[in-house]
């Protein structure tokens, strides 16, 4: 039981990192993308392949994951620089599907649908994480550090510029601000954070497959930000905790096992619809 609870909490910390990084785009800058799971996946596969194929250590592998996810995220930002938000929705959706298709089809590299197995556990300065509790402590610490770093970021002048872009792109432009550079920058930062979550994810589960990084996962991360509260940092954390823990509770009801997965998803879908109607600002309201 303790292992089960610790496992859930580790998952919460990983998705809290993901949701916070997506909120930089969605809540703070007003950029709707449906490709965050792909960035997450670039980090996970990037780190796992670096460790497995080149035999590199965990830290250099994380470095590769960060660079790779930042580059892909910057590529996703391209449509947002030229045209309106609808194009970004569509382009990011298409990129998400291309990424999924690459994971499945490049089976010589990614292991195809079977995924990658036996990913090394994180090892830093001779100390290797192996026990569930080790992971919980380390990953929670990382999540807290990211929270602190991002709260400094969103309060900085750069953070204010992001909010100005969200409200009206033209105004910061007339003030001589480089809106395009700001958008690319925030895509790179959000990509790095999501890629880090990917590297941590792979080394925790020691196994990754394409389904973890498909469009439904992107929708899950979007839901966490919306339900938690956009434009805040506590919100995505709360949203991640809620959407990971609540569906788990259904496990304790006597539903037939063949529909349990479906019921869990229906429950999750209903939570999203309910929030849209009853509390569209999310659990935590932006000030």
């Amino acid at each position: 039981m303790a292992t089960y609870i610790i496992g859930i909490l580790v998952t919460v910390s990983l998705f809290a990192i993901l949701a916070m990084s997506l909120d930089l785009l969605l809540g703070y800058t007003g950029l709707f993308t449906i490709s965050h799971a792909a960035i997450f996946g670039v980090g996970a596969y990037g780190a796992a392949l670096t460790m497995q194929a080149f035999g590199w250590g965990f830290l250099p592998a994380v470095g590769v994951a960060l660079v790779a996810s930042a580059l892909v995220s910057a590529a996703i930002s391209l449509p947002s620089l030229r045209v309106s938000g609808d194009y970004l929705v569509l382009a990011s959706f298409a990129i998400q599907e291309v990424f999924y298709s690459l994971l499945v089809n490049l089976d010589g590299i990614t292991g195809g649908s079977a995924g990658l197995h036996r990913i090394p556990q994180p090892s830093i300065f001779g100390f290797t994480l192996t026990q569930p509790l080790d992971f919980l402590i380390a990953y929670t610490l990382i999540a807290i550090l990211i929270f602190i770093a991002l709260s400094v970021l969103v309060r900085s002048p750069f953070g204010l510029l992001l909010k100005a872009i969200r409200e009206d792109e033209i105004v910061p432009q007339t003030l001589g601000k480089d809106v395009i550079a700001a958008k690319v920058k925030i895509f790179v930062i959000a990509g790095c954070v999501a890629g880090l979550a990917g590297a941590l994810y792979g080394s925790y589960y020691t196994f990754i497959d394409p389904l973890t990084f498909d469009v439904h996962a992107s929708v899950l991360i979007l839901s966490m930000v919306l339900i938690g509260g956009m434009g805040t940092l506590w919100g995505p954390v709360a949203g991640a905790a809620l959407l990971i823990i609540l569906p788990e509770l259904l496990r304790f009801f006597p539903f037939p096992s063949e529909v349990l997965g479906n019921l869990r998803q229906i429950f999750y879908g209903l939570i999203i619809i309910g929030f849209c109607f009853l509390r569209p600002t999310g659990l935590v309201r932006a000030r």
Binding site: V89, L102, N105, G269
Partner: protein, 292 residues
Amino acid sequence: MNLFLQLAVNGVYAGSIFALFGLSFALIFATTKVWHFAQGAVYSGSALIVVALATTIGLLPAILAGVVFATLGGLGCQAGIYGPLRRRGASMLVIVMASLGVTIVGENLLSILFGPSQKTLLVDVGGPIIVGGVVISRAQILAPIIAVAVVGLALFVLYRTDFGRKVQALIGDEELMQLQGIATGPIRMACVAFGSAILPIAAVMLLLSGTGVSPYIGLPVVLIGAMSLFLGGINSMLGAAIGGFLIGFVENVALYFIPSSWQAAFTYSLFLAIILVRPTGLLGRRLIQSSM
């Protein structure tokens, strides 16, 4: 050469179906301004109903049942979710999330009702015709005819009738219409109904060639519909149909050069490249105002 002709025939077939996907998405997107992701669940639900009923009550009544389901499903999303949310002043983002929520609930309800596995239509429509070594199935003959008929009907109504002019006005400037005292709600509902009703027809065209349907195949249909619209030019119904046709045609002819498992990645990448170079699409004239 035979292979190329065969791929071209397959391309016309897929293109005809994708044209209907494009028209369906375009009609709903242009009149509601909503990213109607739940269209995916409406699509797979109506297709599953056709498959389930075809063997007991016959194919045509089953298609009718599918059309009724799709129409009610589309109207239900608009009247039960998007409309009320808009009246509450919800942002576009919240409405999109609600649509994704409906998709998740819908897909999983369908999975409980019909099972998660692929279903195929067990109806015999006669063997294929072979012309000069190229195999043409009955579905491949039927699909272009149906597509031209449906798209033609939609364009006729849109450009030659009084109702169509109202639809064009609604797409162009809804506020101005309301100021003139014209109720825009019923016009929008009619477009949502028509856009939803053509989904099962497109699905049957695919099912007739033995393609399977499962509760989870809907989102790619939405993606193809959206790509068709943006490729053809936003707010252009003809553009969306042509865009859809081109996607289906190119996707199949490309199999001459690439293995079929790379089809989806190829299509999406090509689309991304085109939209980066020419964001207004093929028939579009100007950029739309951002709605998100």
